[in-house]
């Protein structure tokens, strides 16, 4: 999402964007990122496919993941937490809240 990347860059973060699941997984492995913001409605597999891959790889299983989604089913949120995500946020979100959550997770991690 172009707007989100622009906002996060303005907050001083280095941002890599992926527009589908497969590219997202390869990017997470290649760039050694500190945190991942993941949408559940991603093309080519979906967010849970990415999450499953990330959590089953020794290189990426400790990276905190924030789910940012427009889906509002409670079961998806429960499933995401069971799979080990650090935070779950709903769209439309408050940009400042997201930035605060990212900082909190990076400081704690």
């Amino acid at each position: 999402m172009l707007g989100l990347a622009t906002f996060l860059k303005s907050q001083g973060f280095l941002v890599f964007s992926a527009y589908d699941s497969v590219y997202g997984i390869s990017l997470a492995h290649r760039e050694k990122v500190n945190l991942i913001i993941l949408d559940l409605g991603l093309p080519a597999g979906g967010g849970f496919y990415v999450l499953d891959n990330l959590k089953h790889s020794v290189d990426t299983n400790t990276i905190p993941v924030i789910i940012l989604t427009a889906k509002q089913e409670k079961e998806l949120e429960d499933k995401a937490y069971q799979m080990g995500v650090s935070a779950y946020m709903h769209k439309p979100f408050e940009p400042k809240e997201l930035a605060a959550k990212i900082r909190e997770l990076l400081e704690n991690g």
Binding site: A70, K74, P92
Partner: protein
Amino acid sequence: MNKKVMKKKNNHNNAEKDLRLVLQELKDNPYRKFNLAFSLMSIIPLLVFFYILAAKLFTFHILVGDIGFMLLICILISICGFCLGYGIIRSALNKVLFYAAQAKHSDELKSIFVASVSHELKNPLSAVKTNLFNFLEGLLGQINDEQKKVVQLLYNITERMGRLVNELLDLHKIEAGMVGLKRELCNIADVLEKQAEELENMLSLKKIRLIKEILNRDLFVWADRDSLHQVVNNLLSNAIKYTPEGKSITLKAYFVDGYVRLEFIDNAQNIPPEKINKIFDKFQRLDETKEGTGLGLAIAKDIVESHKGKVWVEPLCREGNKFVVVLPCDLRSSKR
């Protein structure tokens, strides 16, 4: 886009497949039970027939004279009744099963609708909101004050649309019975305190004093905690919204005969008598200039009623209104 269409088509096909399965499943079992019951019941006239036969057999008058004629007529009527009754009940049962399957099908379509509306509306709203925020913060180049005003206005409208979508979906889910209430023992006193804390900003912004009269600190009810928070939040924020600056709001909570009674007493203008009955309807707003979607009270009412409670409003003598919520303490035995 094609994938989305295919996904929707698949969902539709799945729903149709389920419909057929449900029909088949319902068709098999109750018919078997029904046939068995009917066969057992048909033994009764047979027994009567054999009783009369046994009683009259030795006299050889069984089919002779008035009694014999009446007996034959009875047997004929029984056979006709059996065939006719079987046909009528079978077709009635068919209709019931068909409507039951249709209701299930429409529930599934509702779920698909909620999920897709949620996704299709919130995603673009989120993109618009984030980019407007970027404009406001000057991340996409500096904008002058005039432009900033317009962008701020658009940002506020987007926020309001986001709230409206959320509340519409909440209301739809409650009305369609799609919200699973997780009932647990909740202390309403704690819920009130937490919501008062959460709305502290709104209160201080309008310099409104919140008077809490919660005499009993153990106001336990068997209810869904999140839903209770939503009810209190909606009613309290509504009171804050309509109470003029510098005035006060009184919050009361106490036990009455196995019920917990909550009172939200504001200092707003009296609700006109013609609006008293409509105030909990969807999109009803007393003052169009106030921020809000007009769904908060409707959601509160639906939640309270789903807990077998009641909510109403009473205008006070001079100024102000009293919103009352009554919730039964123990709901464990009742089903929704």
